[in-house]
Subunit: 302 residues, 4 copies
Amino acid sequence: MGIQRLAHVDVTVTDLDLAVAYYTEVIGLLETERDNNSVYLKCWDEPNHHSLRLIYGPRVGFDRMSFKVQREDDLAEFERKVSQYGFPVIRVSKGDRVGQGESIQFETPSGQLMELVHDIEMVGRATLPVNPTPFVHGLKGIAPPRLDHLLVTAEEVGDSAKFYQDVFGFRITEQLLDGQGHQAAVWLEVSHSPHDLAIVAGHNGGLHHFAWWLDDWDHVRRSADILAYNGIQIDVGPTRHGITRGNTIYFFDPLGTRNEVFTGGYRPDPDFPMITWTEDQIGRAVFYYEGELNQRFMSVHT
Amino acid sequence: MGIQRLAHVDVTVTDLDLAVAYYTEVIGLLETERDNNSVYLKCWDEPNHHSLRLIYGPRVGFDRMSFKVQREDDLAEFERKVSQYGFPVIRVSKGDRVGQGESIQFETPSGQLMELVHDIEMVGRATLPVNPTPFVHGLKGIAPPRLDHLLVTAEEVGDSAKFYQDVFGFRITEQLLDGQGHQAAVWLEVSHSPHDLAIVAGHNGGLHHFAWWLDDWDHVRRSADILAYNGIQIDVGPTRHGITRGNTIYFFDPLGTRNEVFTGGYRPDPDFPMITWTEDQIGRAVFYYEGELNQRFMSVHT
Amino acid sequence: MGIQRLAHVDVTVTDLDLAVAYYTEVIGLLETERDNNSVYLKCWDEPNHHSLRLIYGPRVGFDRMSFKVQREDDLAEFERKVSQYGFPVIRVSKGDRVGQGESIQFETPSGQLMELVHDIEMVGRATLPVNPTPFVHGLKGIAPPRLDHLLVTAEEVGDSAKFYQDVFGFRITEQLLDGQGHQAAVWLEVSHSPHDLAIVAGHNGGLHHFAWWLDDWDHVRRSADILAYNGIQIDVGPTRHGITRGNTIYFFDPLGTRNEVFTGGYRPDPDFPMITWTEDQIGRAVFYYEGELNQRFMSVHT
Amino acid sequence: MGIQRLAHVDVTVTDLDLAVAYYTEVIGLLETERDNNSVYLKCWDEPNHHSLRLIYGPRVGFDRMSFKVQREDDLAEFERKVSQYGFPVIRVSKGDRVGQGESIQFETPSGQLMELVHDIEMVGRATLPVNPTPFVHGLKGIAPPRLDHLLVTAEEVGDSAKFYQDVFGFRITEQLLDGQGHQAAVWLEVSHSPHDLAIVAGHNGGLHHFAWWLDDWDHVRRSADILAYNGIQIDVGPTRHGITRGNTIYFFDPLGTRNEVFTGGYRPDPDFPMITWTEDQIGRAVFYYEGELNQRFMSVHT
């Protein structure tokens, strides 16, 4: 039993048409459904209904993160655990949320809305289940194969990390300590990946970025080409993280939400020895090539 | 509870010095220990004691595959399940096997020796746990970051696959069907990877190859350069698999065991829709670029 | 004065529609013109009228290779030199050949038709001359940026090489010697490239292959993906040459002419020290990874 | 007759030991000779005596750029032409300069010392001339195969460009125009390369940077890894130029001279249609991904 992976990220946008144009034409996601106020998108290699929901709203922001659990029964178990931890849990019936069945939702200690769901509609990958080609012809834009992780902000990083560890079994792969030895940021995983979720010091409820996986350093270059071609503001990169050692580009969608494309890193086992970064190495930790953070990266999030 | 990943592969070699020279100088593994008849090796990015054991023996062959289980209690549970399935299980005490604690071992339906272990000695990755560099300077040879998977042969592929699914919870990501619709080969995973273990039709007890992970298509080229530089016989590649869609090179160690370097592929969730290949597409399925198998690839294994 | 580079290769095809479909959809060349029996094609990054002419004919074969000379006056000078060397030269008037002005043509010692031309129509690259993007959006197929070189066959390689050196100033970058110390193959350049023209032992008048440049090893992989996707027969590769040290794939167009995509290599100065390969190393020389030639590569050409 | 390529760049350094340590250990150049105040270095794939001379001096600066001419007679011809253009020429005898024979030297309109030489000592490439491997084992640092180009500063870019065009036959591949339509920067080539020499507006006599060639985008990443590992200050990159469309990293040697590693770009023929950039696109022109220049890049040079 447990959490399997990040299922989808839901964000609010002030211009749904502009957002959809960007996420389909520049990022190259596929639209799977739309309802009166939302558009549902997935990556070409994902079999599930959506990994990104764009919701029309009066301000740009983070709506929720949704994780997939291994078994339907996990919902009840996690409902109990989260409630015991002191956070009210709402159960959402099948039919209330597009593309998925029953789910539970609750606010995390750092104020983000978190959803757990087991039953997600399967719409299939863009390749056939019989004798598939290893790639899909004619995709637009960057066309990442899948959603990878997200980074949220928290006033109390350590308390937040403990919540994800104790209740859901997330494991810390890396941590950044401030001068007092407190966690200033943590990277957490459940899926043999360097991080499914990361938490960095900041205001409660915030989203720093969400990220898609790329297969290769060359796909990083093509992503930069496509971003520049489309006039998208690159925040940092192509560069490399010391943390996770992945290669990366950060950039902003036209409404101001930070996106990332990411590749590389290791595949940690549950007994992977945690890595610790000290504050004096924060530059190399975050941007290994530059050796320093830019102010925008530190201060801007939604 | 369950199996986490492939922990190590043990093979017999008729010339231990030659084998060690190859696996350390050409592949670039690190020697962690040796006893009277064996040498233990690991990849630079693996924290555990070893992922390859070379055992001196009168013939080149496959000794066993060892998988890591999540909890110590899993050993008793799997002992019970395997016994019920009809296969005698031997419990091996801590101290009897180098670099690991208590384990169980048994023969699989297709005659390979399989070992399960939870307690494996941690020797650490080659990078430091505090403020690590994203790579290690001065490694020799190909220097893959980790062991990835192995492919064994079985007279009855379907029965074998069922054993791994029913007893251990392996999931089939891809299957190749023969003209009668029977499984001629299956790819099984437990670690969000296209395959931790694969089974192909052949004699019982055989090892077709074991494989290391590479990070990138460029690392595939460097591997080919290094193999050719060292006069290693390349079997096939650089090329691409239709199955797993990974990029690959197959080659032989100096004693005749087939090795592979592998990168790419997808990250399947437990509900990943199984992919089926039909016999008429076997060429593209195995070697996407060539579109055909070579005779050596089909017939030679240890 | 002198030869600047390979301008275009002209081949005959028995099915013009099929050939054009392949060269535009799979290779991704751009059609610039067609007349009653020919189609003219160029790479996206080439400014000239065409680099490939497909001519309808009763058999698949090599029509000619055309080189660009630096100045109009070079035509008269080379006309004199070639005639003195003993080969009749025909002067072709402006208007007689599509996309180019006055030219001279003659048979080389090994029986290939060679053309020299200075005045070639400029149709422009696919990017704009003002504030261009670094790549072109929406190209089909492999889309190589430019034609790179060709390899012809000759009964007397040494005599042929001498002709290109003495008359046109080609320089030998590499040579392969047979067991008697005679040249079995030579690689010749005029444009700071490992080879603009190569000659290998074979029947007079033959074309072994012509090749396009790729920018990167990753472009080699994408080429292999695209070839396999389109069911094109790959002859060898992706692999690496010992000679030129470039990365490569050989494959056949649907009518049987061998094509190559090529990247890498060095940039030789005119005083580049010639490299010599001995016959016993011919496997590594031609296919560094495989270490051996396949029979088809040795015997099939048009 | 004419200029073939950039032969070597000579710079002054205030700490010769530190400079040599950096250029051999981090960049991976090979030391070929040293005399009482200088160290001579070459890239592994260059056959000539040196492509970089480090000269001890009281300040960090640019000593000269040296170009190789095709024939010994070219020296006299260029001596005449440069003198006629109004610049005094000094002839330097064989023996006066290490690693090369007779040369001429003179100041260019923008105040840089320029040298022309034909006779350069051949010391050979790092690979053998008979049956070479396609790479060299055990090189240190970045190990670029060759020097590629340099960028100098000039008060009057247009006048400078005209000098190189009229006297030496350099061709402009790209130009950047300021708001008044004057050349603010030009890129010039003689060797079928996007640029052997570039000129940008700045003080007379300055050196903005010199650059080495890399084979691949992956080599760009490895360069960034190595630079960061060694604590070298990266100025910009990994990124892409709009101009030349090459991929690049700029960084500083420990004494403050800017270096670049560069790959990609096109191979222009002499009739290559010149590309023009307008001032409003200067950001994309220079750094395609960022879309803007940093102040340091604009103002710092030696």
